[in-house]
């Protein structure tokens, strides 16, 4: 899933400083699953903004909506009748949400309420970890099913580098060296020799480096 975290309240307050009517829009997709943008968080942010307004002696009106997903136009459509009642929208979906909203409702100011962090999964309740960099050409099978592109700080394909220290990456003791894990796993599977095969430099054309991406699947297009 796409993992996000709440934006600092101060930043949000600054964004909507002079606005009186705000609609907060949540999303029932990834951000609900990672406990940051579901209906519960919509209510919490709304209450927070109301308290802030009260403290500053301001009048404020806040609407609360949670869409099925903010990455599909049909769901974005669902707020068309109410959006004009508001001065602005705060989307607490991933970065896709505010953009789809902005595109559909060009007259409305849209603010992001969360910071989108990465594609990953929950290690346990409350802890998430990155797994995928969206490079466009998956190679995890060469590396014991683990991705050095997303999980090595240098995205090395013929690692590890000299900064691997007792299983940790030199950038921080909290970061595992994925190459340490890859090597151990290949040893356990008795396939260590496969790592000796040189991996030529990867083409990043399919990744973000090749410019913004659009994908078409003809068999699905109407």
């Amino acid at each position: 899933m796409i993992v996000a975290e709440p934006k600092p309240i101060k930043e949000i307050l600054e964004m909507v400083r002079d606005l009186k009517k705000i609609l907060i829009v949540g999303c029932k997709g990834c951000v609900t699953v990672c406990n940051v943008g579901g209906s519960k968080e919509v209510a919490i942010l709304a209450s927070t903004l109301r308290i802030a307004a009260k403290k500053n002696g301001k009048e404020i009106e806040i609407g609360e909506e949670t869409l099925e997903r903010q990455c599909d136009p049909e769901y974005i459509e669902e707020i068309k009748d109410i959006i004009n009642d508001y001065d602005a929208v705060i989307s607490i979906a991933c970065g896709v949400g505010p953009q789809f909203l902005s595109e559909r409702y060009p007259a409305t100011r849209v603010f992001p309420g969360v910071n989108t962090r990465f594609m990953g999964g929950a290690i346990e309740h409350g802890i998430w970890s990155e797994r995928c960099a969206g490079c466009g050409t998956c190679v995890v099978h060469y590396f014991g099913g683990l991705c050095p592109i997303a999980r090595c700080s240098k995205s090395l394909l013929n690692g590890p580098c000299g900064g691997s220290n007792n299983g940790k990456c030199e950038i921080s003791g909290d970061v595992d060296c994925i190459w340490d894990i890859i090597v151990r796993k290949m040893m356990e599977q008795g396939r260590l020799d496969e790592l000796l095969e040189f991996k030529p430099p990867k083409s990043w054309m399919t990744a973000r480096d090749g410019g913004p991406r659009t994908m078409t699947r003809e068999e699905l297009v109407k």
Partner: protein, 134 residues
Amino acid sequence: MTDNTPQIVAFCCSNCASAAANVAEGMKMTMPGNVKIIQVPCTGRIEVLHLLKPFEEGADGVYVAGCQEDSCQYVTGITKAAKRVAHVKKILEELEIEPDRIEVFNLSAGKGQEFVEMAHEMTGKIKGLGPVLP
């Protein structure tokens, strides 16, 4: 209610709140009228939103009173509640509201008078901070 009496909302777990009230009553201690109690089956039921709502409605302070961490009937209820209170403290801080306006208390087993003492303690503390609105 006089003007400088702070309005406080207390969320209490019904189990220990009741036992505590028993002791407090036996000791002829009384709850201050400015502390309004909302009972829940377990403090683990209380959400961040529930803790924010009183501030929205004009409360000056909020606290959660539950069991000791080692004697919660629902094992981790009070631990969860304490984490949520800590989160609300952060939100308050960002809103430039004193985080001390919200607290979590663990009622010591067998020391029910603390139930009343904490109400007075919180009242005193919030009085010192003054109202949320300037």
